[in-house]
């Protein structure tokens, strides 16, 4: 065995390029997996740390509906009931104004410093007591108007020092705060959790956030019996929940987003695996004579098998190690993008540091090695079939390769069909099945690739011969006769490139669907809202003065108001995501119905619901999928009047929220909730009034209102929405680019080594009279041809992959049905260009080497 291993080591050292590129491919695959996972995990971890640092020792908390928790409850708990661990919190998002265009989103957290010590000792340092023993400064925090304190890192990030006054914007209104102190938690967790948090006194927070009389929650440290006792006395609309309920929320919120990214990162590892397969396959093919000799000298099948696997294992191990390092670096890059998307869409969490979980690394390492070894199984098996021979001719192998190509094509075709069948079956049945479908189609496609290559080569022979003469015809013939190597290379490249096609198709289909949907749903002419992050638990609302000002504007034919709130989902249990559901209360306008694209439901019933003539709720498709609800189903949610059952009357298409939401008329909402707020408004222009003019008029009217309110035309909102969409998919685009890099490296490696294998053949050709230029032409032609083959074959495969991603993976992850399926020509062209240009680049070094190698040396090569 050691002899074989030594031999393998020497062989690798002798011709390092192919193994090196296989190693690189695995490294890239592992790096993408690690990078994506670490970026995701870091975001989740950062969020949980925030939660932890804010939960502290609290075991429970009291939360309420949109109206929050009334101030009085705190007095009741602490004075009448003597619960001195009851710590209130008022929370909200704000933007620290840098200049008119820029800002930094921060969380304003109002606490009662005196109630914190038992639960969160680190807030103790709100007092900023420094070890030198100077007088602590709790006074300024309580008595300075707008006093806030931050951790030093945040002070630096904001560019402010203690004593600075600066503006923050909350729900469009600017307020001045003063940085009175820095928080210096000795606990690292708390320190990280407090990044980008403006800590202030409860009173300050209520005033800054315009939440007077209202707490967001009361944290408590309770034992089980105290909790039970407390639960019974809580007023309707308030509830007691576990303090760590927020832990993992981000995980839940972003599950689909992350699942999607993970799926795509696995795809890149799969491509890496095929590259390893390719490398090992070529190694075995190349070493057939040697393997025959070794077998003749007494090497057993098992020894040969193990030698190939161990070589693959070592390459995978090296690649994996490199990949882990690379992955951590990649994570840093991805983190910005992933963190940005999460901040934009899910939660205000500052993700600065990559936190690499040892488990992630272990898992990725195992995955890399296992996948690498698995990819070498077939070549290793093939190696054992090499008969002990005194000599071996390749022609026998090539004829077998061709007949194998034929058989493989049949198997491949069956696999593709099975894959699609699985895809259809997988709809709504689980991710595993969806992944299996993707894998089956990709494997099938690679098995079909050799036959496709033969066909394309056959097609290419005549034109190439005509245009390039003997160099052209030799390029084709040589590729055909070397099918055992070329087919594997082309299949691998095809797969790598098809991943980029699939992702491109997916993104484009998605975008197109959303664009069409926006066209339908944005039916009103002008939209008015308060600038806010989607990450807030409760949306900011329009100042009543602003609403009044808007409705006084001339030229409004109709209007509709909108209020979005999260509430507890009591039934049914969700198949994924938290037991929370968003509800939107609307005041219908004549145009409201036209804004919906109903999947199911009776129009008369829907009208009745919107007119509050009957009870019921309209649910978005993702919510229906998430809760496995159909028309007629029941949705039980917590209201300020206690639990309420809504009948699902209709399901409508929606791409705005992956968790989904329900719609009910304002009239009913007001009966069930004590929340007069309006979040946004849709306005229809009167006949003859230009929407742009109306927008201008509304802006003018709003100028007198202190709140900053956005009035946007239909078109502007649509553009903004698509912009957000593009930002959301930025990370997918990055992954696509990474896949392209893996593919490029793959093409380069496989084709370069393929050509270098032809040393002896080239030497013979030159010996019989081929000039170096002819050799160069032939090498470039063959590589270009193979690259083109791979590119062309990647188109159908990529489209199939895209279809599966769109219809199976996404439908499952997000609950979105994409109506459009687009195969953008740009994406297809890119695939062919990528593949061909990489192939041509791969020809450069071999062409140079082959045409310059002295004939005699080339001939001596075995």
């Amino acid at each position: 065995m050691t002899a074989l291993l030594r031999l393998v080591r020497r062989l690798v050292a002798h011709r390092p390029w192919q193994p090196l590129l296989a190693t690189l491919a695995i490294a890239l695959g592992v790096a993408v997996v690690v990078g994506v996972d670490a970026a995701n995990a870091s975001a989740s971890r950062a969020f949980d740390q925030t939660v932890d640092s804010l939960v502290g020792r609290a075991t429970h908390r009291i939360v309420g509906g949109p109206g929050g928790v009334p101030d009085e409850l705190l007095v009741e708990l602490r004075v009448a009931r003597g619960l001195d661990s009851a710590a209130p919190a008022v929370e909200g998002l704000a933007r620290v104004v840098v200049d008119d265009a820029r800002g930094r989103t921060v969380r304003v957290l109002g606490i009662d410093p005196f109630a914190e010590a038992p639960l969160r000792p680190w807030f103790a340092f709100a007092a900023g007591s420094d070890p030198a023993g100077g007088l602590p400064e709790i006074g300024p925090l309580l008595t300075t108007p707008g006093a806030v304190a931050v951790v030093p890192e945040t002070a630096t990030a904001l560019g402010h020092t203690v004593g600075d006054r600066f503006e923050i914007e909350v729900s469009g209104v600017r307020r001045v705060v003063e940085l009175v102190d820095t928080l210096r938690p000795r606990d690292d967790l708390a320190r990280r959790g407090l990044q980008d948090v403006l800590v202030c006194d409860l009173a300050t927070a209520q005033e800054l956030l315009d939440q007077i009389g209202r707490l967001d929650r009361i944290d408590l440290e309770l034992d089980a019996s105290q909790a039970t006792a407390l639960e019974t006395i809580l007023p309707t609309g308030l509830r007691l929940e576990s303090a760590s309920a927020d832990r993992g929320t981000l995980d839940e919120l972003t599950r689909a987003f992350r699942q999607n990214l993970t799926a795509l990162s696995l795809l890149s590892l799969l491509v890496g695996a095929f590259l390893v397969h390719n490398a090992m396959q070529l190694a075995v093919v190349r070493r057939r004579p040697l393997l025959g000799l070794l077998r003749a000298l007494g090497a057993s099948k098992r020894q040969v098998f193990a030698a190939v696997l161990i070589e693959a294992a070592v390459l995978s191990l090296l690649g994996t190690l490199a990949g882990l390092l690379l992955g951590v670096a990649l994570a840093k890059g991805l983190l910005g993008i992933v963190g940005g998307t999460i901040r934009e869409l899910y939660a205000a969490v500052q993700v600065d540091a990559v936190q690499v979980d040892p488990w992630t690394l272990t898992l990725a390492a195992l995955l890399g090695i296992v996948v690498g070894i698995a990819a070498a199984l077939a070549p290793a098996w093939e190696a054992t079939s090499v008969q002990p021979r005194m000599a071996m001719l390749r022609s026998g192998l090539e004829s077998r390769a061709r007949s194998f190509a034929g058989r493989a094509a049949w198997v491949g075709a069956v696999l593709v069909i099975v894959g699609f069948a699985l895809g259809f079956a997988a709809e709504g049945r689980g991710m595993v099945l969806a992944y299996a479908a993707v894998l089956a189609v990709l494997l099938g496609a690679t098995l079909l690739a050799p036959t496709g290559t033969v066909a394309l080569l056959w097609l290419a022979r005549t034109p190439l011969t005509r245009w390039f003469g003997s160099a052209g015809s030799h390029a084709v013939r040589s590729a055909e006769t070397g099918l055992s190597r070329t087919a594997v290379a082309v299949a691998t490249l095809m797969l790598a490139v098809s991943a980029t096609v699939g992702l491109g198709v997916m993104i484009q289909s998605f975008r197109s669907t959303v664009a069409h949907w926006l066209g339908t749903t944005l039916a009103a002419d002008v939209y008015v809202s308060v600038p806010q992050s989607m990450a807030t638990r409760l949306e900011s609302h329009l100042d009543p003065a602003a609403i009044e000002a808007i409705l006084a504007v001339d030229g409004i034919a109709a209007h509709s108001t909108y209020r979005r709130i999260p509430t507890d989902l009591l039934a049914p249990a969700p198949t994924r995501g938290p037991a929370e559901v968003e509800l939107a209360a609307i005041t219908p306008a004549p145009g409201t119905l036209a804004m919906f694209d109903f999947v199911a439901g009776d129009l008369d019933q829907i009208r009745a619901v919107l007119a509050a003539a009957r009870d019921g709720v309209l649910v978005s498709e993702p919510l229906a999928v998430r809760l496995d609800l159909d028309v007629g189903g029941k949705l039980r949610v917590a209201t300020d009047r206690g639990p309420h059952d809504f009948e699902v009357v209709a399901i409508f298409r929606d791409y705005a929220s992956e968790r989904g939401y329900g719609i009910l008329p304002r009239e009913r909402y007001d009966r069930l909730w004590d929340d007069p707020a309006v979040g946004s408004m849709a306005l229809w222009a009167a006949d003859g009034v230009d929407p742009d003019t109306l927008t201008e008029r509304i802006r003018d009217a709003l100028a007198a209102v202190p709140q900053e309110v956005l009035a946007r035309s239909n078109r502007a909102l649509r553009d903004t929405s698509l912009e957000i969409f593009d930002r959301t998919f930025a990370v997918t685009a990055v992954l696509r680019a990474l896949c392209a890099v893996v593919a490029f490296v793959g093409v380069l490696g496989a084709l370069a080594s393929l050509q270098l294998e032809r040393r002896r053949e080239t030497a013979v050709l030159r010996a019989v009279g081929a000039v170096p230029g002819w050799i160069v032409r032939s090498v470039f032609l063959q590589n270009g041809l193979l690259g083109l083959c791979a590119g062309l074959l990647s188109i159908p495969t990529g489209i199939a992959l895209g279809w599966l991603l769109v219809h199976v993976v996404h439908r499952h992850s997000f609950g979105w049905t994409l109506l459009d399926f687009e195969t953008p020509p740009r994406v297809l062209l890119e695939a062919v260009l990528l593949s061909t240009s990489a192939a041509l680049l791969a020809a450069w070094w071999p062409a140079r080497t082959l045409s310059h190698t002295p004939v005699a040396r080339g001939l001596r090569e075995e």
């Binding site: 050691t2 002899a3 030594r6 070794l294 003749a296 000298l297 007494g298 008969q387 005194m390």
Partner: protein, 256 residues
């Protein structure tokens, strides 16, 4: 110089060779061995009911034109290929009774191979090449290493043990191959045109070395060659012609 005559008819031992009429402890016994290949749909018989017995330490030359089946016969004797008919025994072991792993083990221990093109592994040193069969068997212990050294000494290449084969001349490479073939003290050495790639002078010296070593080691030799000169080094010569073996009478040419 040499005349052909039929091999003593096997009919005398009717119904194929039996245990009784076989010399006990023969290095190689072929009993009515047949082998044919398909070329497309056409069946081409290479060997037809071959009988052959080689005594321990006996050296036998196998003559024949290209394509006469010399290599096939060697492959069969080496357990590399299996006969369509008949029985092959090496050192009393029936190859037909062995499975794939058994044949590999047998080949590792009982057969040494020498090829026309030397077939040394270029990335391994001379000593490593010679050690290979020992290593496959997991026997590269101190004794094994001593054996490698001893053989390299005897082929006159001890001082080049650490070099790579491509730095050696053809004759030297074949001497390394010879050492490799003998390292496991095989019962039978199979040599396929061992001097085919060598000039006459070198060929002579390689053959002389083969003679000496085989005699010293007590190894039987079956050497395929088309050179009468080479055949002359052997105890007897056989000619393979249209699938049959004939005894070739050798004119002693190495008169002192």
């Amino acid at each position: 110089m040499l005349r052909s005559m039929p091999v003593p008819s096997p009919s005398s031992a009717a119904g194929a060779a039996s245990e009784s009429n076989r010399s006990p402890g023969a290095a190689l016994v072929l009993e009515r061995v047949g082998k044919s290949y398909f070329e497309g749909d056409a069946r081409r018989t290479i060997l037809e009911a071959i009988d052959l017995e080689i005594a321990p330490a006996e050296r036998v030359a196998l003559l024949g034109r290209s394509g006469s089946g010399k290599s096939t016969l060697l492959n069969l004797a080496g357990g590399i290929d299996r006969p369509d008919a008949g029985r092959i025994l090496v050192g009393g072991e029936d190859l037909g009774a062995l499975d794939e792993a058994g044949v590999t083990r047998f080949r590792r221990r009982s057969v040494g191979l020498v090829f026309q093109a030397f077939h040394l592994v270029p990335v391994l040193t001379v000593a490593e090449n010679v050690s290979l069969p020992l290593e496959f068997d997991g026997r590269l212990d101190r004794a094994g290493r001593a054996r490698v050294h001893e053989l390299l000494d005897r082929v006159g290449l001890a001082d080049r043990a650490a070099e790579h084969p491509d730095h050696l001349s053809g004759g030297e490479q074949q001497r390394v191959a010879l050492a490799r073939a003998l390292v496991r003290r095989p019962t039978l050495l199979l040599a396929d045109e061992p001097t085919g790639n060598l000039d006459e002078e070198t060929a002579e010296s390689v053959l002389a070395l083969l003679d000496t070593l085989a005699r010293e080691e007590g190894t039987a030799v079956l050497m395929a060659t088309h050179s009468i000169r080479s055949a002359a080094h052997c105890d007897r010569a056989l000619r393979l012609d249209h699938g049959h073996l004939r005894v070739e009478t050798l004119q002693p040419q190495n008169a002192p």
